[in-house]
């Protein structure tokens, strides 16, 4: 946890701007901007919200959020809605995990011609 924070601080000049924006989220794609997610307690089978922050002054032109359970090969039964708060901060409402287990939240952000996928894992009891 601490290690991850240090690594991302070292790897990006813009990370400072993002400190306090939650947990770092990883992208497999090289050159993906640093991003953070804030999720508080996730209730089982009830809607919840999360906040996704893209660090630095990256011009994000699109964002898509979805989640799935890799073990069961199914996703959510509801479409979440995303509000752009500006400055790279996005609020995601209407997430709903209807089963316990491992969920993967996937964020796809569009920057110019590029799409960067990020995966954030949440384990729900």
């Amino acid at each position: 946890m601490i290690l991850a924070a240090i690594v991302s601080l070292a790897s990006s000049v813009s990370a400072d701007a993002c400190s306090g924006y939650g947990e770092p989220v990883v992208s497999e794609l090289q050159g993906a901007p640093d991003a953070y997610v804030i999720v508080n307690d996730v209730p089982l089978s009830q809607p919840f919200s999360l906040r996704f922050t893209v660090c630095g002054e990256v011009p994000v032109t699109g964002i898509q959020v979805d989640a799935m359970m890799p073990a069961h090969q199914h996703g959510m039964n509801y479409d979440p809605s995303v509000t752009d708060l500006g400055l790279g901060v996005f609020d995601v409402h209407g997430m709903l995990f209807h089963m316990p287990g491992i969920w993967e939240v996937r964020f796809d952000i569009t920057v110019g011609d590029l799409t960067f996928p990020y995966i954030h894992r949440i384990t729900l009891r």
Binding site: H72, Y78, D79, M99, R125
Partner: protein, 377 residues
């Protein structure tokens, strides 16, 4: 003196711990099945929710054939208070044999979905559909308004809703559905021995918790573990209130199938009676996201709403089509589940469980602790 006392306590705690079979992890999972009863909050989409006069009128109407166009049936004909507001029939008998089993009407307050296929997002909408269904009560809004006006209930209706004559038939229809809902909100399953067990675990009172029968504890362990039951039967009412394929055949006849959730969602999305619509009494339209954001998918085909397991011992027969006669049969169904028969894609949870006879009987014992309901009234 003090020393001897604490030694005695230790021995006691030690032996009580031995009577609780659950691991710490299983105890933590068990706590999520409570507390019971849940807090009761009024339904903001129903302005008469919690209103005593509305509840009394709803109770009277529930039992009165005036709600069917020809006096042939009342709600209680199928939802019989003597049999936990369910019916012993496999599939319900209306004006013809219906596609599905009559569910019990307990703990319905504040759910996200109603009906086996989830064709309503409120209790009042779920109570309105049978009123105007051709194969159930058979009323139109107009015939219902006339019937209520001419019935002994007219004065009570006017006390709750004002002058009936000046109201449109549609308004009367929705109002009747809302008093029926107000009444049904009061139907709840009582606390059971499982709740005492769960609360004792929460208090850390292992001696008390150890009173819960060992067979039921072993059954609960299977429910949480090898049985995989708690993937779908979650939370205080033992249901995630979402839709799954539990491997129950969905053929109605040689040529017809019950599409389950697939049709439920189609019905919901064309219904004027949703939390997003004009008939909700909530100016904020809370809950509207449900019908606005729900996803339609081919995988909905042949899925059905996970039923609550509270009071399940009293509501045989089981499953959406009433095809399984008793709880032993349900557990055997999951134990020997036929994966070839699964119709929805992707539900990669169910598989044959390989439980032996002792384990099957333990799992049934556990389900029985969730309550048998005494006849109401």
């Amino acid at each position: 003196m003090i020393a001897r006392f604490s030694v005695a306590m230790l021995v006691l705690v030690g032996s009580a711990r031995a009577d609780v079979l659950l691991s710490d992890n299983e105890i933590a999972q068990t706590l999520a099945f409570g507390p019971w009863p849940p807090q009761a909050t009024p339904d903001p989409s129903n302005r008469v929710s919690g209103d005593t006069k509305a509840i009394a009128l709803g109770r009277a109407l529930f039992d009165d054939p005036v709600l069917s166009v020809d006096g042939a049936m009342s709600c209680a004909t199928c939802h019989d208070p003597q049999t936990a507001f369910a019916s012993r029939q496999t599939r319900a008998m209306g004006r013809e044999i219906l596609a599905r089993n009559t569910p019990a009407l307990f703990n319905l307050r504040g759910l996200r979905w109603y009906g086996w296929g989830g064709d309503s997002d409120s209790l009042w909408a779920a109570s309105l559909l049978p009123l105007i269904s051709d194969v159930e009560m058979g009323h139109s809004a107009e015939s219902l308004k006339n019937a209520v006006r001419e019935s002994a209930h007219a004065p009570d209706y006017q006390t709750v809703f004002g002058d009936l004559l000046n109201q449109s038939p549609q308004t009367v229809l929705v109002n009747i559905a809302k008093v029926l809902a107000a009444y049904q909100e009061t139907l709840a399953t009582p606390r059971t021995s499982f709740d005492d067990f769960r609360d004792a675990l929460e208090r850390g009172d292992l001696e008390d918790a150890g009173q819960f029968p060992q067979a039921a504890q072993r059954g609960l362990q299977l429910f949480l573990g090898q049985g995989n039951c708690s993937f779908c039967h979650t939370g205080p009412s033992f249901s995630n209130n979402e839709f799954h394929d539990a491997g129950v055949p969905y053929f109605l006849s040689d040529t017809e199938v019950d599409p389950g959730r697939f049709d439920g969602l189609k019905a919901l999305l064309t219904s004027p009676y949703t939390l997003a619509g004009d008939w909700s009494d909530d100016p904020e339209r809370r809950g509207k996201w449900v019908s606005q954001n729900v996803r339609q998918s081919h995988a909905d085909f042949g899925t059905f709403r996970t039923p609550s397991l509270r009071g399940v011992a009293a509501t045989a027969p089981y499953m959406h089509d009433g095809s399984i006669a008793d709880l032993d049969g349900v557990v055997r169904h999951y134990n020997d589940i036929n994966l070839e028969r699964m119709h929805a894609d992707g539900e990669a949870i169910l598989r044959p469980l390989e439980l032996d006879e002792q384990q099957i009987s333990d799992l049934v014992s556990f389900l029985e602790t969730l309550g048998a309901i005494k006849p109401f009234k």
